[in-house]
Symmetry: C2
Subunit: 341 residues, 2 copies
């Protein structure tokens, strides 16, 4: 008698419109105790007999649930911890999920009514540094995490938690690393600051058999409101993985262009990068970098609707792939040093 196994495919479908990064969500029938149906990513199981590749399976589910035919797609990670899906506890199969990141141009698509575009910072508001250091971090996150750190009595664990918190959230002089999105989400989850943790705890209570799963001090924060909009299952963890990956990738591969029309102004390009990285950039230097770096080339067309002087329209310069080893847009602190003899 073997335990059945299911591979679930998830799609994090990203577009940037109006300088806002958005993801495509669907409604999920949740039999949980959460008030309303939480947002979910498009997802569905792999059909081991019919789907020739994982990616094709994913494309099929996305087509069916949202009406979109995906272009650029990239595998993110494989989550396989037991009991990520609560149905597993009620005798369901072991579920392994394989999420994909997909980049599309929102304007050129129409989606099913069941699906809708949401600002991804609604789910991960602490990642939004466009205007400034989000006050939420100092006002809610830092104190709550400090309490959580102190909840453990073991000194080694305490130091480890302390270090994780400081590095992840750039506290006490540590520098904020915009790529550590997943680390941040997981800390907030462990510390009980996101609604999903409370939900999963309830499920854990219900199925008392595995009481050791209830870690002694991962408890719900009483006075803190939960942070950000929750999602179904572990979809927010997947979203965090996607955001982290994308923030990393734009630095060394020209993926931003998947989110832009074939021709665009440099400010449009900059806004997309900023929206993803969650950081504001220096306009003149950005221009110099992408232009001199050979990443784009001017068409001789102009965009008259800029509000000021018309901007030249640029296009992605494919040849850069031959010329430079890691063509991306670069972000603060990217200078790491080169040492060829």
């Amino acid at each position: 008698m073997t335990t059945p196994l299911v591979i679930e495919l998830n799609g994090v479908i990203v577009a940037v419109t109006d300088d806002t990064p958005r993801i495509l969500t669907v409604k999920h029938l949740d039999h949980s105790l959460m008030e309303s149906k939480p947002d979910a990513l498009p997802f569905g199981p792999l059909d081991p007999a019919a789907d020739r590749t994982l990616e094709l399976g994913l494309r099929g589910w996305v087509r069916e649930q949202t009406g979109i035919e995906l272009g650029y797609v990239e595998q993110l990670y494989t989550f396989g911890d037991r009991n990520r899906d609560p149905e597993e506890r009620q005798g369901g199969p072991r579920v392994i999920s394989v999420p994909y990141l997909a980049l599309v141009r929102e304007g050129q698509l129409s989606v099913r009514a069941e699906a809708s575009w949401r600002d991804w910072y609604d789910y991960l508001p602490w990642e939004h540094w466009l205007s400034n250091h989000p006050p939420m971090i100092d006002e809610q996150i830092a104190p709550a995490l400090a309490r959580w750190v102190k909840k453990t009595s073991e000194p080694a664990m305490l130091r480890s938690r302390q270090e994780r918190v400081e590095i992840a959230f750039g506290l006490r002089g540590a520098t904020w690393d915009e790529e550590r999105v997943l680390e941040r989400y997981e800390l907030l989850y462990e510390a009980g600051l996101v609604a999903e943790q409370a939900r999963d705890r309830l499920w854990r209570r219900e199925s008392r058999k595995e009481s050791r799963d209830i870690s002694e001090d991962s408890s719900v924060e009483p006075k803190t409101r939960f942070l950000g909009q929750p999602m179904a299952l572990d979809h927010r963890r997947i979203l965090a993985t996607a955001l982290g990956r994308l923030r990393g990738k734009i630095k060394y591969r020209p993926v931003v262009f998947e989110l832009l029309p074939p021709t665009f102004t440099l400010l449009q390009l900059q806004r997309v990068v900023e929206a993803l990285a969650g950081v504001r950039l220096h306009k003149q230097n950005f221009r110099r970098l992408v232009e001199k770096g050979g990443l784009v080339e001017g068409t001789s067309q102009f965009d008259p609707k800029t509000g000021g002087r018309p901007a030249m329209l640029f296009r992605f310069r494919r040849e850069v792939l031959r010329e430079r080893p890691a063509p991306g847009v670069g972000l603060p602190g990217a200078t790491s040093g080169s040492l060829l003899k």
Copy 2:
């Protein structure tokens, strides 16, 4: 009647000794037509009932097959294309494989007799640029790939192949990107330059049912010897994935130290980086970079066995994690540009 599904866990276990990167292999019982048993990575199926996480499952298999208890471990990718495992064609279950990269310190380990350490460049010799541009590239690979490119008649396909080849192998003025290891292996596979492709083609012939799987022009090169040592199943593809990932990662995360003893000389550190990247570095500048970059700190101990002046022993400086967003060792061309406003 559902098709059964199996998740296979693979470990690419890396150590660097004598300035040579090595991987741990085991013997694989292969019912194929290949002369002798090909080398394999340690691997085994996930037990959906017993293994709480994928990583734990992997650690178990590695322990059993090699006698090693793994430390640093990182998931690589999930390969799910149908018929990667030839047994699938003979009615076996659908196999999805999830490989992990593990870094260990070889000197401190003793492994089972069934397992053995192999130079990873034996399997991927074209990646070895330590002494110079490997002659194999110009003498065998470039001409063979050029023939393969021309085998297609469709112009779009031809251009696409041409571009892939040039970018992957740094031909015709393109720059060699040491991270594109997987791209290179896959090109060689498609072009029939590695033994695995010939083997898989034979299997494909045998099970005639799916004749469309035989792509018209992915044929075995007649006059060329196959390149590099073959491995079982698709383990060489997995190895290529691992090498590419590791070459990327040393640049922005301090993973090299997982391969070194707690204290080491700067030359030891440099040799490990060189072994992985397959590139030689400038000694004085390397020293400046890791020292000023805060990646290491001197102990006041010295290593007397250097052959010349004794070298100071250094240790990894953990605090760098707080200070710098992406602490790694840096390689040629890493200057990408930073644009904070």
